[in-house]
Protein backbone atom coordinates (compact mmCIF):
# COMPACT_ATOMS: atom_id res chain seq x y z
CA UNK A 1 0.00 0.00 0.00
CA UNK A 2 1.19 3.51 -0.81
CA UNK A 3 2.69 5.51 2.03
CA UNK A 4 0.66 8.61 2.96
CA UNK A 5 1.66 11.66 4.98
CA UNK A 6 -0.64 14.41 6.24
CA UNK A 7 0.12 18.03 5.23
CA UNK A 8 0.36 18.89 8.93
CA UNK A 9 0.91 16.70 11.94
CA UNK A 10 -2.47 17.71 13.43
CA UNK A 11 -4.31 15.94 10.60
CA UNK A 12 -4.88 12.28 11.47
CA UNK A 13 -5.47 10.04 8.45
CA UNK A 14 -6.14 6.68 10.16
CA UNK A 15 -9.79 5.64 10.21
CA UNK A 16 -12.08 8.64 9.77
CA UNK A 17 -9.70 11.51 8.98
CA UNK A 18 -9.88 14.21 11.64
CA UNK A 19 -7.92 17.05 13.22
CA UNK A 20 -6.37 16.88 16.66
CA UNK A 21 -5.39 19.68 19.02
CA UNK A 22 -3.16 19.92 22.07
CA UNK A 23 -5.38 20.85 24.99
CA UNK A 24 -3.93 22.44 28.12
CA UNK A 25 -4.58 20.12 31.06
CA UNK A 26 -4.99 23.09 33.36
CA UNK A 27 -7.27 25.51 31.47
CA UNK A 28 -8.49 23.67 28.38
CA UNK A 29 -7.02 26.08 25.80
CA UNK A 30 -6.43 24.35 22.48
CA UNK A 31 -3.52 24.67 20.04
CA UNK A 32 -2.45 23.11 16.77
CA UNK A 33 1.30 23.76 16.98
CA UNK A 34 4.12 22.24 19.02
CA UNK A 35 3.90 23.77 22.49
CA UNK A 36 6.34 24.95 25.12
CA UNK A 37 3.67 26.03 27.57
CA UNK A 38 0.15 27.46 27.56
CA UNK A 39 -0.36 30.99 26.22
CA UNK A 40 -3.71 31.26 27.99
CA UNK A 41 -2.71 30.33 31.55
CA UNK A 42 1.07 29.97 31.49
CA UNK A 43 0.98 26.37 32.69
CA UNK A 44 3.77 24.16 31.38
CA UNK A 45 2.34 21.08 33.04
CA UNK A 46 1.10 19.23 30.06
CA UNK A 47 -1.20 18.88 27.11
CA UNK A 48 -3.48 16.06 26.02
CA UNK A 49 -4.44 15.25 22.44
CA UNK A 50 -8.10 15.86 21.68
CA UNK A 51 -10.04 15.13 18.50
CA UNK A 52 -11.72 18.12 16.87
CA UNK A 53 -15.30 17.94 15.56
CA UNK A 54 -15.36 17.04 11.88
CA UNK A 55 -18.23 19.45 11.27
CA UNK A 56 -18.36 23.17 11.83
CA UNK A 57 -19.72 26.55 10.87
CA UNK A 58 -18.00 29.15 8.67
CA UNK A 59 -17.26 32.20 10.81
CA UNK A 60 -15.25 34.24 8.30
CA UNK A 61 -13.95 33.83 4.80
CA UNK A 62 -12.13 35.56 1.98
CA UNK A 63 -11.78 34.68 -1.67
CA UNK A 64 -8.10 35.03 -2.48
CA UNK A 65 -7.27 36.11 -6.02
CA UNK A 66 -3.61 37.02 -5.53
CA UNK A 67 -1.47 34.33 -3.91
CA UNK A 68 2.00 32.83 -3.79
CA UNK A 69 3.32 31.01 -6.88
CA UNK A 70 2.00 27.44 -7.13
CA UNK A 71 -1.34 28.20 -5.47
CA UNK A 72 -4.36 28.03 -7.77
CA UNK A 73 -6.57 31.12 -7.56
CA UNK A 74 -9.21 32.06 -6.78
CA UNK A 75 -9.65 29.94 -3.68
CA UNK A 76 -11.69 30.34 -0.53
CA UNK A 77 -9.83 30.67 2.78
CA UNK A 78 -11.80 30.67 5.97
CA UNK A 79 -12.12 30.22 9.67
CA UNK A 80 -14.35 27.40 10.85
CA UNK A 81 -15.90 27.03 14.29
CA UNK A 82 -15.73 23.31 15.03
CA UNK A 83 -17.74 22.86 18.22
CA UNK A 84 -16.02 25.81 19.91
CA UNK A 85 -12.54 25.29 18.49
CA UNK A 86 -11.42 27.70 15.75
CA UNK A 87 -9.80 26.05 12.73
CA UNK A 88 -8.09 27.65 9.72
CA UNK A 89 -8.72 25.98 6.38
CA UNK A 90 -9.74 26.43 2.79
CA UNK A 91 -13.38 25.94 1.85
CA UNK A 92 -13.33 23.33 -0.91
CA UNK A 93 -15.66 21.53 -3.32
CA UNK A 94 -17.76 24.64 -3.94
CA UNK A 95 -17.43 27.43 -6.53
CA UNK A 96 -15.20 30.23 -5.14
CA UNK A 97 -17.72 33.06 -5.32
CA UNK A 98 -19.86 34.96 -2.77
CA UNK A 99 -23.04 33.35 -4.11
CA UNK A 100 -21.87 29.90 -3.05
CA UNK A 101 -19.88 30.70 0.08
CA UNK A 102 -21.91 32.20 2.90
CA UNK A 103 -21.09 33.24 6.46
CA UNK A 104 -22.58 30.74 8.88
CA UNK A 105 -22.78 27.89 6.37
CA UNK A 106 -22.38 24.35 7.72
CA UNK A 107 -19.23 22.52 6.65
CA UNK A 108 -17.51 19.18 7.09
CA UNK A 109 -13.89 18.10 6.91
CA UNK A 110 -12.68 16.81 3.53
CA UNK A 111 -9.29 15.40 2.57
CA UNK A 112 -7.63 15.24 -0.83
CA UNK A 113 -4.27 14.21 -2.35
CA UNK A 114 -1.65 16.93 -2.81
CA UNK A 115 0.75 14.87 -4.90
CA UNK A 116 3.28 12.08 -4.65
CA UNK A 117 6.96 12.66 -3.94
CA UNK A 118 10.04 10.95 -5.48
CA UNK A 119 9.93 8.26 -2.78
CA UNK A 120 6.33 7.39 -3.69
CA UNK A 121 4.73 8.98 -0.63
CA UNK A 122 1.45 10.80 -1.15
CA UNK A 123 0.77 13.96 0.84
CA UNK A 124 -2.82 14.52 1.94
CA UNK A 125 -4.32 17.96 2.48
CA UNK A 126 -7.57 18.98 4.14
CA UNK A 127 -10.27 21.57 3.78
CA UNK A 128 -13.93 21.97 4.65
CA UNK A 129 -16.76 21.37 2.18
CA UNK A 130 -20.42 22.37 2.36
CA UNK A 131 -22.52 19.87 4.31
CA UNK A 132 -25.37 20.38 1.86
CA UNK A 133 -24.63 21.17 -1.74
CA UNK A 134 -26.49 24.37 -2.64
Amino acid sequence: MQQRTPIVDYLVLDGDPHLVASECEQCGARYFDRRNACAACGAAGGFRQVAIDRQGELRAFTIVSMAAPGIDVPFVAGVVDCGGTTVRANVVNTPPDPDHVRLGMKLRLATFPLGTDSAGTEAVGFGFEPLEQS
Binding site: V8, D9, A29, T62, R88, L114
Partner: protein
Protein backbone atom coordinates in the same frame (compact mmCIF):
# COMPACT_ATOMS: atom_id res chain seq x y z
CA UNK B 1 1.04 67.89 35.41
CA UNK B 2 4.73 67.39 36.03
CA UNK B 3 5.10 64.19 34.02
CA UNK B 4 3.21 65.42 30.98
CA UNK B 5 5.15 64.90 27.76
CA UNK B 6 4.69 67.23 24.78
CA UNK B 7 5.25 66.95 21.08
CA UNK B 8 7.42 69.96 20.29
CA UNK B 9 8.11 69.29 16.63
CA UNK B 10 6.76 66.77 14.16
CA UNK B 11 6.93 66.18 10.43
CA UNK B 12 6.35 63.63 7.71
CA UNK B 13 7.88 63.40 4.27
CA UNK B 14 5.75 63.15 1.17
CA UNK B 15 4.60 59.53 0.97
CA UNK B 16 5.02 57.87 -2.42
CA UNK B 17 7.90 56.89 -4.67
CA UNK B 18 11.34 58.24 -3.74
CA UNK B 19 13.61 56.35 -6.16
CA UNK B 20 16.59 58.64 -5.48
CA UNK B 21 16.39 58.59 -1.68
CA UNK B 22 17.41 55.68 0.56
CA UNK B 23 15.99 54.98 4.02
CA UNK B 24 18.66 57.14 5.67
CA UNK B 25 17.87 60.08 3.34
CA UNK B 26 14.18 59.84 4.17
CA UNK B 27 14.81 59.40 7.91
CA UNK B 28 17.16 62.41 7.87
CA UNK B 29 14.62 64.56 6.03
CA UNK B 30 11.95 63.70 8.61
CA UNK B 31 14.27 64.05 11.63
CA UNK B 32 15.77 67.37 10.54
CA UNK B 33 12.26 68.57 9.73
CA UNK B 34 10.96 67.64 13.18
CA UNK B 35 13.92 69.31 14.91
CA UNK B 36 13.43 72.51 12.86
CA UNK B 37 9.68 72.40 13.48
CA UNK B 38 10.38 72.23 17.23
CA UNK B 39 13.04 74.92 17.14
CA UNK B 40 15.77 72.66 18.57
CA UNK B 41 18.86 70.89 17.19
CA UNK B 42 20.29 67.40 17.48
CA UNK B 43 22.58 68.78 20.23
CA UNK B 44 19.48 69.20 22.41
CA UNK B 45 18.32 65.60 22.03
CA UNK B 46 18.96 63.20 24.93
CA UNK B 47 17.53 59.99 23.45
CA UNK B 48 16.77 58.63 19.98
CA UNK B 49 14.29 55.86 19.18
CA UNK B 50 14.09 54.74 15.55
CA UNK B 51 12.42 52.06 13.48
CA UNK B 52 12.77 50.62 9.97
CA UNK B 53 11.00 47.29 9.87
CA UNK B 54 12.41 45.85 6.66
CA UNK B 55 15.95 46.72 7.71
CA UNK B 56 15.48 45.93 11.38
CA UNK B 57 18.96 44.44 11.73
CA UNK B 58 20.82 47.42 10.29
CA UNK B 59 20.41 49.91 13.13
CA UNK B 60 18.62 52.79 11.43
CA UNK B 61 19.09 54.96 14.53
CA UNK B 62 22.90 54.91 14.31
CA UNK B 63 22.80 55.17 10.51
CA UNK B 64 20.76 58.33 10.95
CA UNK B 65 23.15 59.71 13.60
CA UNK B 66 26.05 59.30 11.17
CA UNK B 67 24.29 61.77 8.86
CA UNK B 68 22.71 64.28 11.25
CA UNK B 69 24.78 64.16 14.46
CA UNK B 70 26.75 61.60 16.47
CA UNK B 71 26.30 63.03 19.94
CA UNK B 72 26.77 59.80 21.88
CA UNK B 73 23.20 59.61 23.21
CA UNK B 74 21.47 56.26 23.75
CA UNK B 75 19.76 54.86 20.65
CA UNK B 76 16.89 52.38 20.74
CA UNK B 77 16.23 50.64 17.44
CA UNK B 78 12.71 49.28 17.62
CA UNK B 79 10.71 46.82 15.50
CA UNK B 80 7.05 46.12 16.24
CA UNK B 81 5.38 45.32 12.91
CA UNK B 82 3.06 48.11 11.73
CA UNK B 83 3.17 49.63 15.23
CA UNK B 84 6.93 50.31 14.91
CA UNK B 85 6.57 54.10 14.59
CA UNK B 86 4.21 54.33 17.55
CA UNK B 87 6.60 52.13 19.51
CA UNK B 88 9.53 54.46 18.72
CA UNK B 89 7.51 57.44 19.91
CA UNK B 90 6.41 55.62 23.05
CA UNK B 91 10.03 54.63 23.78
CA UNK B 92 11.09 58.29 23.71
CA UNK B 93 8.08 59.22 25.85
CA UNK B 94 8.99 56.57 28.42
CA UNK B 95 12.58 57.81 28.64
CA UNK B 96 11.25 61.29 29.46
CA UNK B 97 8.71 59.96 31.95
CA UNK B 98 11.46 57.94 33.62
CA UNK B 99 13.39 61.17 34.14
CA UNK B 100 16.33 59.99 32.03
CA UNK B 101 15.83 62.51 29.23
CA UNK B 102 14.37 65.98 28.72
CA UNK B 103 14.22 65.90 24.92
CA UNK B 104 13.64 62.81 22.76
CA UNK B 105 13.55 62.15 19.03
CA UNK B 106 11.46 59.37 17.46
CA UNK B 107 11.82 58.40 13.79
CA UNK B 108 10.12 55.83 11.56
CA UNK B 109 11.07 55.14 7.95
CA UNK B 110 10.31 52.54 5.26
CA UNK B 111 11.00 51.98 1.57
CA UNK B 112 8.19 49.88 0.19
CA UNK B 113 7.41 51.32 -3.25
CA UNK B 114 7.04 48.43 -5.67
CA UNK B 115 6.85 45.78 -2.94
CA UNK B 116 4.38 43.02 -3.70
CA UNK B 117 1.85 41.42 -1.42
CA UNK B 118 2.97 41.18 2.15
CA UNK B 119 2.55 37.50 2.93
CA UNK B 120 2.78 35.63 6.18
CA UNK B 121 5.48 33.46 7.70
CA UNK B 122 4.80 29.74 7.19
CA UNK B 123 6.60 29.30 3.90
CA UNK B 124 8.43 26.01 4.31
CA UNK B 125 9.87 25.28 0.89
CA UNK B 126 8.52 22.48 -1.25
CA UNK B 127 11.28 19.84 -1.54
CA UNK B 128 11.23 16.70 -3.70
CA UNK B 129 10.22 14.54 -0.76
CA UNK B 130 7.56 15.43 1.80
CA UNK B 131 9.46 16.44 4.95
CA UNK B 132 7.57 17.57 8.04
CA UNK B 133 8.96 20.94 9.15
CA UNK B 134 8.28 23.58 11.75
CA UNK B 135 5.80 23.78 14.58
CA UNK B 136 2.94 22.27 12.57
CA UNK B 137 4.98 19.45 11.06
CA UNK B 138 4.06 20.85 7.64
CA UNK B 139 5.23 19.02 4.51
CA UNK B 140 4.36 21.99 2.24
CA UNK B 141 3.92 25.74 2.55
CA UNK B 142 0.62 26.26 4.36
CA UNK B 143 -0.20 29.71 2.95
CA UNK B 144 -2.90 29.05 0.34
CA UNK B 145 -3.21 25.34 1.20
CA UNK B 146 -4.51 25.72 4.76
CA UNK B 147 -6.23 29.08 4.64
CA UNK B 148 -4.36 32.26 3.80
CA UNK B 149 -1.55 34.19 5.42
CA UNK B 150 -1.57 37.13 3.00
CA UNK B 151 -2.43 40.41 4.71
CA UNK B 152 -5.34 41.33 2.39
CA UNK B 153 -6.85 37.89 3.05
CA UNK B 154 -6.30 37.96 6.81
CA UNK B 155 -7.88 41.38 7.17
CA UNK B 156 -10.70 40.46 4.79
CA UNK B 157 -11.62 37.71 7.24
CA UNK B 158 -11.39 40.14 10.16
CA UNK B 159 -14.05 42.31 8.51
CA UNK B 160 -16.20 39.38 7.43
CA UNK B 161 -16.10 37.94 10.94
CA UNK B 162 -17.49 41.24 12.26
CA UNK B 163 -20.33 41.10 9.72
CA UNK B 164 -21.09 37.51 10.73
CA UNK B 165 -21.11 38.32 14.44
CA UNK B 166 -23.48 41.21 13.91
CA UNK B 167 -25.77 39.53 11.38
CA UNK B 168 -25.14 41.96 8.54
CA UNK B 169 -27.65 41.36 5.75
CA UNK B 170 -26.27 43.60 2.99
CA UNK B 171 -23.57 43.28 0.35
CA UNK B 172 -20.10 43.18 1.98
CA UNK B 173 -18.25 44.33 -1.15
CA UNK B 174 -20.30 47.52 -1.42
CA UNK B 175 -20.17 48.23 2.31
CA UNK B 176 -16.39 48.06 2.49
CA UNK B 177 -15.98 49.90 -0.82
CA UNK B 178 -17.86 52.81 0.74
CA UNK B 179 -15.16 53.13 3.43
CA UNK B 180 -12.53 53.21 0.72
CA UNK B 181 -14.50 55.78 -1.28
CA UNK B 182 -14.55 58.02 1.82
CA UNK B 183 -10.79 57.79 2.39
CA UNK B 184 -9.87 58.30 -1.26
CA UNK B 185 -12.13 61.39 -1.28
CA UNK B 186 -10.37 62.68 1.85
CA UNK B 187 -6.95 62.20 0.22
CA UNK B 188 -7.66 64.83 -2.44
CA UNK B 189 -6.97 67.49 0.20
CA UNK B 190 -3.68 65.97 1.42
CA UNK B 191 -0.68 66.94 -0.74
CA UNK B 192 1.59 64.50 1.17
CA UNK B 193 -0.56 61.44 0.36
CA UNK B 194 0.80 58.88 -2.12
CA UNK B 195 -2.50 58.83 -4.03
CA UNK B 196 -4.75 61.89 -4.13
CA UNK B 197 -7.43 60.82 -6.59
CA UNK B 198 -11.08 60.46 -5.66
CA UNK B 199 -12.59 57.13 -6.76
CA UNK B 200 -16.23 56.26 -7.29
CA UNK B 201 -17.90 53.31 -5.59
CA UNK B 202 -18.17 51.59 -8.98
CA UNK B 203 -14.46 52.12 -9.71
CA UNK B 204 -13.46 50.70 -6.33
CA UNK B 205 -15.77 47.68 -6.57
CA UNK B 206 -14.75 47.00 -10.17
CA UNK B 207 -10.99 47.28 -9.61
CA UNK B 208 -8.65 44.30 -9.38
CA UNK B 209 -9.84 41.84 -6.73
CA UNK B 210 -7.04 40.96 -4.29
CA UNK B 211 -8.86 39.06 -1.54
CA UNK B 212 -12.65 39.40 -1.51
CA UNK B 213 -14.04 41.73 -0.37
CA UNK B 214 -10.81 43.80 -0.62
CA UNK B 215 -10.10 45.12 -4.11
CA UNK B 216 -6.80 46.91 -4.85
CA UNK B 217 -7.89 50.44 -3.83
CA UNK B 218 -9.22 49.00 -0.56
CA UNK B 219 -5.68 47.84 0.38
CA UNK B 220 -3.05 50.09 1.94
CA UNK B 221 -0.66 51.50 -0.61
CA UNK B 222 2.94 50.26 -0.48
CA UNK B 223 5.15 53.35 -0.69
CA UNK B 224 8.23 55.11 0.67
CA UNK B 225 8.13 57.61 3.49
CA UNK B 226 9.34 58.74 6.88
CA UNK B 227 8.00 60.64 9.86
CA UNK B 228 9.65 61.99 12.99
CA UNK B 229 8.69 63.69 16.24
CA UNK B 230 10.55 65.63 18.94
CA UNK B 231 9.10 65.16 22.41
CA UNK B 232 9.94 67.16 25.53
CA UNK B 233 9.22 67.13 29.25
CA UNK B 234 6.82 69.63 30.77
CA UNK B 235 9.68 71.32 32.63
CA UNK B 236 11.68 71.73 29.42
CA UNK B 237 8.72 73.15 27.51
CA UNK B 238 8.28 75.83 30.18
CA UNK B 239 11.80 77.12 29.42
CA UNK B 240 11.03 77.53 25.71
CA UNK B 241 9.46 80.41 23.78
CA UNK B 242 5.79 81.33 23.87
CA UNK B 243 5.46 80.31 20.25
CA UNK B 244 6.99 76.87 20.95
CA UNK B 245 4.61 76.46 23.88
CA UNK B 246 1.63 77.50 21.76
CA UNK B 247 2.39 74.99 19.02
CA UNK B 248 3.28 72.15 21.39
CA UNK B 249 0.78 69.30 21.44
CA UNK B 250 0.04 67.50 24.69
CA UNK B 251 0.36 63.71 24.73
CA UNK B 252 -2.61 62.99 26.97
CA UNK B 253 -2.27 59.25 26.58
CA UNK B 254 0.39 56.93 25.18
CA UNK B 255 -0.50 53.24 25.29
CA UNK B 256 0.98 50.10 23.75
CA UNK B 257 -0.63 46.67 24.07
CA UNK B 258 -0.15 43.13 22.77
CA UNK B 259 -2.94 40.63 22.30
CA UNK B 260 -4.18 38.78 25.36
CA UNK B 261 -5.00 35.14 24.65
CA UNK B 262 -8.46 34.50 23.23
CA UNK B 263 -9.80 31.29 21.75
CA UNK B 264 -8.82 31.24 18.09
CA UNK B 265 -6.33 34.12 18.31
CA UNK B 266 -3.48 31.93 17.05
CA UNK B 267 -5.63 30.80 14.11
CA UNK B 268 -6.99 34.14 12.84
CA UNK B 269 -5.19 37.09 14.45
CA UNK B 270 -7.42 38.88 16.95
CA UNK B 271 -6.98 42.58 16.19
CA UNK B 272 -9.95 43.52 18.35
CA UNK B 273 -9.17 42.64 21.96
CA UNK B 274 -5.81 44.46 22.12
CA UNK B 275 -7.25 47.53 20.38
CA UNK B 276 -10.18 47.67 22.80
CA UNK B 277 -7.76 47.32 25.68
CA UNK B 278 -5.46 50.07 24.36
CA UNK B 279 -8.40 52.41 23.75
CA UNK B 280 -9.84 51.82 27.22
CA UNK B 281 -6.47 52.55 28.85
CA UNK B 282 -5.92 55.62 26.68
CA UNK B 283 -9.31 57.19 27.47
CA UNK B 284 -8.66 56.57 31.16
CA UNK B 285 -5.16 58.10 31.04
CA UNK B 286 -6.37 61.14 29.12
CA UNK B 287 -9.54 61.61 31.11
CA UNK B 288 -11.57 61.92 27.90
CA UNK B 289 -14.13 59.76 26.15
CA UNK B 290 -14.78 59.02 22.49
CA UNK B 291 -17.35 61.84 22.36
CA UNK B 292 -14.61 64.35 23.15
CA UNK B 293 -12.63 63.43 20.02
CA UNK B 294 -12.62 65.92 17.15
CA UNK B 295 -10.82 63.57 14.75
CA UNK B 296 -9.42 60.05 14.60
CA UNK B 297 -6.65 58.55 12.48
CA UNK B 298 -7.05 54.78 12.68
CA UNK B 299 -5.21 51.88 11.09
CA UNK B 300 -7.15 51.25 7.88
CA UNK B 301 -4.53 48.90 6.43
CA UNK B 302 -7.56 47.49 4.55
CA UNK B 303 -11.11 48.79 4.20
CA UNK B 304 -12.24 45.71 6.13
CA UNK B 305 -10.05 46.76 9.08
CA UNK B 306 -11.42 50.29 9.37
CA UNK B 307 -14.93 49.01 10.06
CA UNK B 308 -13.99 46.89 13.08
CA UNK B 309 -11.91 49.66 14.63
CA UNK B 310 -14.90 52.05 14.73
CA UNK B 311 -16.24 49.58 17.25
CA UNK B 312 -12.92 48.69 18.93
CA UNK B 313 -12.09 52.36 19.61
CA UNK B 314 -15.56 52.99 21.02
CA UNK B 315 -16.47 55.48 18.29
CA UNK B 316 -19.86 53.80 17.98
CA UNK B 317 -22.09 51.63 20.10
CA UNK B 318 -21.01 48.01 20.44
CA UNK B 319 -21.98 46.21 17.23
CA UNK B 320 -22.88 49.51 15.56
CA UNK B 321 -19.98 50.04 13.13
CA UNK B 322 -22.12 49.69 9.99
CA UNK B 323 -24.71 52.17 11.31
CA UNK B 324 -21.88 54.53 12.29
CA UNK B 325 -20.56 54.51 8.73
CA UNK B 326 -23.99 54.85 7.20
CA UNK B 327 -24.83 57.79 9.50
CA UNK B 328 -22.05 59.77 7.81
CA UNK B 329 -20.20 60.25 11.12
CA UNK B 330 -16.67 59.28 9.91
CA UNK B 331 -16.72 61.58 6.86
CA UNK B 332 -14.71 64.79 7.15
CA UNK B 333 -17.89 66.85 7.49
CA UNK B 334 -19.40 64.28 9.88
CA UNK B 335 -19.71 64.08 13.64
CA UNK B 336 -16.45 62.12 14.12
CA UNK B 337 -14.11 62.46 11.11
CA UNK B 338 -11.98 59.35 10.61
CA UNK B 339 -8.86 59.31 8.42
CA UNK B 340 -9.14 62.81 6.99
CA UNK B 341 -5.54 62.29 5.80
CA UNK B 342 -6.86 59.76 3.30
CA UNK B 343 -5.86 56.85 5.51
CA UNK B 344 -3.43 54.11 4.65
CA UNK B 345 -5.48 53.25 1.56
CA UNK B 346 -4.55 56.52 -0.18
CA UNK B 347 -1.98 58.31 1.97
CA UNK B 348 0.07 55.13 1.92
CA UNK B 349 1.61 52.78 4.47
CA UNK B 350 5.42 52.90 4.72
CA UNK B 351 5.20 50.56 7.71
CA UNK B 352 7.51 52.06 10.35
CA UNK B 353 6.59 55.64 9.40
CA UNK B 354 2.85 55.11 9.75
CA UNK B 355 2.62 55.27 13.56
CA UNK B 356 4.22 58.73 13.65
CA UNK B 357 2.57 60.00 10.44
CA UNK B 358 -0.87 59.34 11.95
CA UNK B 359 0.12 61.45 14.95
CA UNK B 360 1.48 64.17 12.65
CA UNK B 361 -1.92 64.37 10.95
CA UNK B 362 -3.71 64.81 14.27
CA UNK B 363 -1.15 67.40 15.49
CA UNK B 364 -1.52 69.31 12.23
CA UNK B 365 -5.23 69.83 12.94
CA UNK B 366 -4.78 70.55 16.65
CA UNK B 367 -2.28 73.28 15.73
CA UNK B 368 -4.73 74.69 13.18
CA UNK B 369 -2.20 74.19 10.39
CA UNK B 370 -4.00 71.64 8.19
CA UNK B 371 -4.99 74.12 5.48
CA UNK B 372 -7.91 73.14 3.24
CA UNK B 373 -8.54 69.89 5.13
CA UNK B 374 -8.49 71.53 8.58
CA UNK B 375 -11.11 70.20 11.00
CA UNK B 376 -12.21 73.54 12.46
CA UNK B 377 -11.64 74.02 16.16
CA UNK B 378 -10.03 70.61 16.64
CA UNK B 379 -9.02 70.27 20.29
CA UNK B 380 -8.59 66.52 20.94
CA UNK B 381 -7.63 63.70 18.56
CA UNK B 382 -6.73 60.02 18.63
CA UNK B 383 -4.18 58.09 16.57
CA UNK B 384 -4.26 54.28 16.37
CA UNK B 385 -2.01 51.71 14.74
CA UNK B 386 -1.92 47.95 14.85
CA UNK B 387 0.72 45.52 13.73
CA UNK B 388 0.06 41.81 13.38
CA UNK B 389 1.78 39.63 15.84
CA UNK B 390 0.28 41.67 17.48
CA UNK B 391 1.00 45.18 18.78
CA UNK B 392 -1.38 48.11 19.13
CA UNK B 393 -0.50 51.74 19.80
CA UNK B 394 -3.04 54.38 20.79
CA UNK B 395 -2.14 58.02 21.43
CA UNK B 396 -4.55 60.75 22.48
CA UNK B 397 -3.38 64.27 21.72
CA UNK B 398 -4.63 67.65 22.90
CA UNK B 399 -4.12 71.20 21.74
CA UNK B 400 -1.97 73.34 23.99
CA UNK B 401 -3.82 75.77 26.27
CA UNK B 402 -0.91 78.22 26.03
Amino acid sequence: MADTVWILGITMTKFGKHPDADTVDLAAEAALGALADGGVTIEDVDVLAAGNLLGAGAGIGQQLQKQIGQTGIPVYNVANACATGATALRTAVMAIKAGEADVGLAVGVEKLAGAGLLAGGTRAGDSDTWQPRGRYGAVAALDGRVGTETMPGVFAQVGMQYLHEHRYGGTPLELFARISEKNHAHSTLNPLAAYTKAMSLEQIMGDLMIAYPNTRPMCSANCDGAAAAVVVSDATLKTLSREQQRRAVKISASVLTSDPWQEGCQVLPDVNTLTRSAARQAYEQAGVGPDDLDLVELHDCFATAELVHYDNLGLCEEGGAVDFLESGAPYRDGRMPVNVSGGLQSKGHPIAATGIANIWEVCHHLRGEAGPRQIEGARVGLAHVIGLGSACGVHILERSAA
